[in-house]
């Protein structure tokens, strides 16, 4: 199977995602320039972290107009698995592929550290290989990861089990002291209603080998592989 990693001008985790998919997970992966119009037969699309288009105006606001985004949107509409990591999550929010928006971190600082993140739902293409309520230690590195949605939207997200990842302590307990950026309901990642598009602020691709401080993120990409393979079997 094949991963596509979209490269925007200003992406900086593109090669990390490419490396994790190809060298760590051992699947095919291709870097796709944002001006390309097609995803070259990819089974899974990753929008990587960074500062696409310099994050001018708002994070992700300009990236959503990149030519490749039409193909990403069509792929997502067909049910294709799409993962937005950090800046990629912000792009998915601006593109309307996920609900809500990002605001500056509540303590205003750029936060860069490894934090515990709890997997709340395992029925998405990027968490299917996780245990329910599994706590992953993943790096975060962002200045605008303070997730916001209006009250009715937030209630709908919770009711539809669209909150996939939450900031917790190592025991998996939610609390404001474990919330690094002020996100509503300690949200670290969500999915769309159809559950095929997932965005998260933490970087699973930067936690794919023990030499990097944690290999916990590997399960996110391994989930995508299992999900695609199961889909292939279902359709065989």
């Amino acid at each position: 199977m094949k991963f596509a990693v979209v490269v925007f001008p200003g992406s900086n985790s593109d090669y990390d995602a490419f490396y994790a998919a190809s060298r760590v997970i051992g699947e095919q992966a291709e870097l796709i320039w944002h001006k390309d119009a097609d995803l070259k037969g990819a089974d899974v699309v990753i929008l990587p972290g960074g500062f696409a288009h310099g994050d001018y105006l708002r994070t992700g606001a300009i990236a959503r107009f990149s030519p490749i985004m039409a193909a990403v949107t069509a792929f997502a509409d067909r049910g294709g698995p799409v993962l937005g990591i950090c800046n990629g999550f912000q792009v998915l929010l601006e593109a309307g592929l996920l609900p809500g928006a990002m605001v500056r971190n509540d303590r205003v600082k750029f936060v860069s550290k490894i934090v515990p993140v709890r997997v709340d739902q395992t029925d998405t293409p990027f968490t299917v290989a996780c245990a329910s309520k599994q706590v992953l230690h993943l790096p975060i590195a962002h200045g605008e990861g303070n997730y916001y949605a209006p009250a009715d939207e937030l209630a709908a997200l919770e009711a539809n089990r669209q909150v996939i990842f939450r900031y917790t302590n190592a025991a998996g307990e939610v609390g404001s002291e474990w919330n690094p950026n002020g996100s509503l309901n300690s949200i670290a990642g969500i999915c769309n209603r159809e559950r095929n598009v997932v965005g998260l602020m933490p970087h699973p691709e930067r936690a794919s080998e023990l030499a990097l401080g944690s290999a916990d993120g590997r399960v996110v990409l391994a989930s995508a592989v299992r999900s695609v393979m199961d889909g292939v079997r279902l359709h065989a």
Binding site: A101, V103, R104, N146, Y148, A149
Partner: protein, 80 residues
């Protein structure tokens, strides 16, 4: 002709940057400052058109790009 667009965070959205600016002003010797909300200001230069058309065009631009309707509201002014 020119249009001006003022973009601000909706009242329901916490503004961490505005909070920091307010704290700095208090520290500077302005204890009467209660709160600051930070926003964005755009000056858009346009081909001449009648003001109503220009306002409609710029409002569309604000909806599509200049503001994020999830967290921000905006006001458009067309200069004669």
């Amino acid at each position: 002709m020119k249009a001006r667009v003022y973009v601000t965070l909706k009242p329901s959205v916490f503004d961490p940057q505005g909070r920091v600016v307010a704290d700095a002003l208090v520290t500077l010797g302005y204890p009467d400052v209660k709160d600051v909300r930070q926003g964005k200001f755009f000056e858009v230069e346009l081909a001449d058109a009648d003001p109503a058309t220009a306002k409609a065009r710029v409002t569309e631009m604000a909806d599509k790009l200049l503001a994020n309707p999830v967290i921000e509201s905006y006001r458009v002014e067309v200069l004669q």
